[in-house]
C-alpha cells in the first residue's frame, strides 16, 4: 500500500472512530445477572416448554379455534373510534414531532438535559413500544408523518397517488435499511440533540418524497419503518384498530385474545422475516457488544493477530474495532436467520412436509416476536424507568430557558436507580414469559401447518430447540460481565 493510500485509509478510519458511544442516554445501571439465576432461568425455560407443548397437544381442537377465529367472530367485540379522537391524536403527534425537532435545535446541547433526546429515545422509541404491546398499534392512528402527508394531500389532492410502480421484490427492505440505520446511529453515532433534530428533519423529507414517488399507502406500509415496527409489536396486543368503511367512524376497535394477532396472518415477504430477525439480533447485539467476551474477541483475538502483521497507531485499531462492531451488528441477524432456517429445515425433513422452506419460514416468522419483544424490554426497561420519568421535569422547560411551565421543572433532580435484585428477577421473568408465548404460538402454528398429529409432534421438537436456544442466548447475554474502559486498556 502506498503512503498516500495509507494516509487516506487512516483518515477514513479516524473519522469512523468518532462514533464511540454506548446507549444514547447512558443511563443503564443493569448488573449482569448471577450465573445461578441464569442457569435456573434456562432450566425453567426447558421445563415450561414441555408443559406448554403438553397442553397444546392435548387440546388440538381448542387450538384450531385460533385459526378459525376471523374478525368479528365470537369472543370478539366491535367498537368504533370517533373521527375527532384520531384527528386530535394526529395533531398531538405532529406537535410532538415539531417540539422534538425545535428543542433539539434551540435547547441544551447536553443529551441528558435536552427534552428531545429523552422524548424521542425513551418515551417514543421505548415507551410507545411497551404501550403498543398492551394497547395495540396506536402509532397507526397518529403517525405524524402520515398525518403530515394527509394534510398535504388535502391541500393538493392527488399529490400522493404515486409516480412510480413499487416493485414487489423490494418488499420491506427500505424499512429494514432505515431500521438498521437507526440502531447503528443509536449504538455508534455521536448523538447530540441537534443531530437528532437534523435526522428527524431528513426523515420527514424522506417520507414526503418517498410517499410522492410510490404512493402514500404503499410507503407507509413497506417503507416507513416505525409503521412496520409498531405494526408487528401491535400484533401481540389484545386490541386491534382497523379502518371502517361505514363513512362515519374512521377506525374500528376489535378486542381479541393477547398474542392471537400474531397467528392471524403470516409474514408476506422475506424482507419482513429479516425485519423480525433484526428485531431479535439487534437487541441481543446491544446487550452483548460491550461484554467482556465480546470485546475480548477483538482485543484478545483479532487485534494481536492483525497487529503482528500490520503496524498502525493504536487509534487506528480503535477505529478498526468500531468497524468490526458495526460489521457484527449487520452479520448477527444472518446468524440468527441461519439457525432459524436450519431448525425449520429439520422440522420439514422429519415430517416429510410438502410445504417449501421459504413458505415455512414466513409462516413461523411472527412467532419470534414475543421473544424479540422481551429481549427489548429486559434490556431497556431500566433505562426507561430511570430516564423516562425525567420527561415530567423537562416538559416544564423544554428549551432549557429556565422556564417552569407546569411547576415540575425541579422534580426528579436525583437519578432514579432500580434495585439490582428486582431488575434481575424481572429480567428473567420477562424472558421466560416471552419464551412461553413464543413456544405456544409456534406449536399452535405447527398444528396448523403439519396435518397429522404425529407430524406435528415431530415438527415441534426442532421448534422447541429453537425457542430454548433463543431464550438461553437471551439469558446468557444478561449474565455476561460488562467490560469497562476497554479502549484505554486493550490488552
Amino acid at each position: 500500500m502506498t503512503r498516500v493510500a495509507k494516509g487516506v485509509v487512516s483518515l477514513l478510519l479516524a473519522a469512523w472512530s468518532g462514533g464511540a458511544g454506548a446507549c444514547v442516554l447512558g443511563a443503564v445501571y443493569n448488573l449482569p445477572i448471577p450465573f445461578g439465576m441464569y442457569a435456573s432461568g434456562a432450566g425453567a425455560a426447558l421445563v415450561v416448554s414441555f408443559i406448554v407443548v403438553a397442553f397444546v397437544l392435548r387440546a388440538p381442537a381448542a387450538t384450531g379455534n385460533i385459526d378459525a377465529a376471523p374478525s368479528g367472530s365470537r369472543h370478539v367485540s366491535q367498537l368504533s373510534l370517533p373521527r375527532w379522537v384520531v384527528s386530535s391524536a394526529s395533531c398531538a403527534s405532529l406537535f410532538g414531532l415539531l417540539l422534538t425537532i425545535v428543542t433539539g435545535l434551540l435547547g441544551s446541547a447536553n443529551p441528558l438535559a435536552n427534552f428531545n433526546m429523552t422524548f424521542f429515545w425513551i418515551i417514543f422509541w421505548l415507551g410507545l413500544t411497551y404501550i403498543t404491546a398492551l394497547l395495540g398499534d396506536l402509532y397507526s392512528l397518529a403517525n405524524p408523518w402520515r398525518a403530515l402527508c394527509g394534510w398535504l394531500e388535502h391541500a393538493s389532492p392527488g399529490i400522493f397517488r404515486g409516480r412510480f410502480h413499487y416493485p414487489a421484490w423490494l418488499g420491506y427492505y427500505p424499512a429494514l435499511v432505515l431500521y438498521a440505520t437507526l440502531i447503528w446511529t443509536e449504538l455508534f453515532g455521536q448523538f447530540q440533540p441537534q443531530t437528532l433534530s437534523v435526522m428527524l428533519l431528513g426523515y420527514t423529507g424522506l417520507n414526503v418524497v418517498a410517499a410522492w414517488m410510490v404512493g402514500k399507502d404503499i410507503w407507509f406500509r413497506y417503507g416507513e419503518f416505525f409503521s412496520v415496527f409498531f405494526r408487528l409489536i401491535g400484533k401481540m396486543a389484545p386490541i386491534e384498530y382497523s379502518s371502517n368503511s361505514d363513512g362515519n367512524a374512521t377506525y374500528g376497535i376489535r378486542i381479541r385474545r393477547p398474542f392471537v394477532g400474531l397467528l392471524e396472518v403470516s409474514a408476506d415477504h422475506f424482507s419482513l422475516l429479516l425485519f423480525v430477525v433484526f428485531m431479535l439480533s439487534s437487541t441481543a447485539f446491544d446487550g452483548a457488544h460491550e461484554t467482556v467476551p465480546w470485546v475480548g474477541m477483538f482485543w484478545k483475538g483479532i487485534y494481536p493477530m492483525l497487529s503482528n502483521h500490520i503496524v498502525q497507531p493504536y487509534l487506528i485499531w480503535v477505529s478498526v474495532y468500531y468497524i468490526w462492531q458495526s460489521a457484527m451488528l449487520l452479520l448477527l441477524p444472518l446468524c440468527y436467520l441461519a439457525v432459524y432456517l436450519i431448525l425449520l429445515w429439520l422440522a420439514r425433513t422429519v415430517t416429510h412436509s410438502g410445504t417449501t422452506l421459504p413458505r415455512l419460514a414466513l409462516r413461523f416468522a411472527f412467532t419470534l416476536i414475543p421473544i424479540a419483544f422481551v429481549y427489548n424490554m429486559t434490556h431497556y426497561y431500566g433505562e426507561f424507568a430511570s430516564q423516562g420519568i425525567q420527561v415530567l421535569r423537562m416538559v416544564s422547560d423544554p428549551f432549557s430557558f429556565g422556564w417552569n411551565l407546569f411547576g415540575t421543572a425541579h422534580w426528579f433532580t436525583d437519578p432514579i436507580v432500580l434495585d439490582a435484585g428486582a431488575v434481575w428477577h424481572t429480567q428473567v421473568g420477562l424472558i421466560l414469559f416471552g419464551h412461553i408465548a413464543s413456544v405456544y404460538l409456534a406449536h399452535v402454528e405447527a398444528l396448523k401447518v403439519f396435518p397429522s398429529a404425529r407430524h406435528a409432534v415431530l415438527s415441534q421438537l426442532p421448534m422447541l430447540l429453537l425457542m430454548v436456544l433463543l431464550t438461553t442466548a437471551g439469558l446468557w447475554i444478561l449474565s455476561l460481565p460488562i467490560d469497562a474502559g476497554q479502549l484505554s486498556t486493550p490488552l
Binding site: G26, A27, V28, Y29, N30, L31, M37, S40, G41, A44, V48, I51, V52, F55, V56, A59, A62, T63, N65, I66, A69, H75, R257, D414, P415, I416, V417, L418, D419, A420, G421, A422, V423, H425, T426, V428, G429, L430, L432, F433, I436, A437, Y440, P481, I482, D483, A484, G485, Q486, L487, S488, T489
Partner: protein, 127 residues
C-alpha cells in the same frame, strides 16, 4: 381454546413469580440486612495521556460498603460517577478524593467529562 389460553397464562405467571421474589421489588435505598458487616474499599485511579494506567476497570463492592476513590490525572478535568451523580474536580497531577457509601445497587460508570473518557465502572451487588 379458552381453557388452553388460561393454562398458558397461569404457566406464564407461575414462571414469572417463581423467579421474581416479590418482596425484593423495591426501589434502591434498601436497608442492608442486620448482622451483615459493611466493608471499606480504597481504590487508586491514575490517568495519564488519556489512559487509565493504574486501578481496576471494574470496582466490585457490596451494598452498604464504603468506597474511597483517589483519582489522579495529568490534566485538569472533572471526574463523574454516574447514578450516584457525584463529581469531583481534578487538578493536573494532584490527587482528588471521592467518598461513596454504596447504597444504590447496580453498575455505575465513571468518566472524565472534559476528556470524554470512560474509565471504568463501580459495580454494587446486593447483599
Amino acid at each position: 381454546m379458552k381453557s388452553t389460553a388460561c393454562i398458558t397464562l397461569v404457566c406464564g405467571l407461575l414462571a414469572l413469580f417463581s423467579t421474581l421474589q416479590v418482596q425484593r421489588l423495591s426501589f434502591a435505598q434498601t436497608k442492608v440486612a442486620d448482622g451483615q458487616s459493611e466493608t471499606s474499599h480504597v481504590f487508586d485511579i491514575v490517568v495519564q495521556r488519556g489512559k487509565r494506567v493504574k486501578g481496576p476497570a471494574v470496582l466490585k463492592v457490596s451494598q452498604g460498603d464504603e468506597v474511597t476513590l483517589h483519582i489522579t490525572a495529568d490534566t485538569a478535568d472533572e471526574f463523574h460517577l454516574h447514578g450516584y451523580n457525584l463529581i469531583v474536580q481534578l487538578l493536573p497531577n494532584s490527587t482528588a478524593t471521592m467518598h461513596v457509601v454504596a447504597k444504590l445497587t447496580g453498575r455505575f460508570t465513571y468518566e472524565l467529562h472534559k476528556s470524554d473518557l470512560e474509565l471504568g465502572a463501580l459495580e454494587v451487588y446486593p447483599r
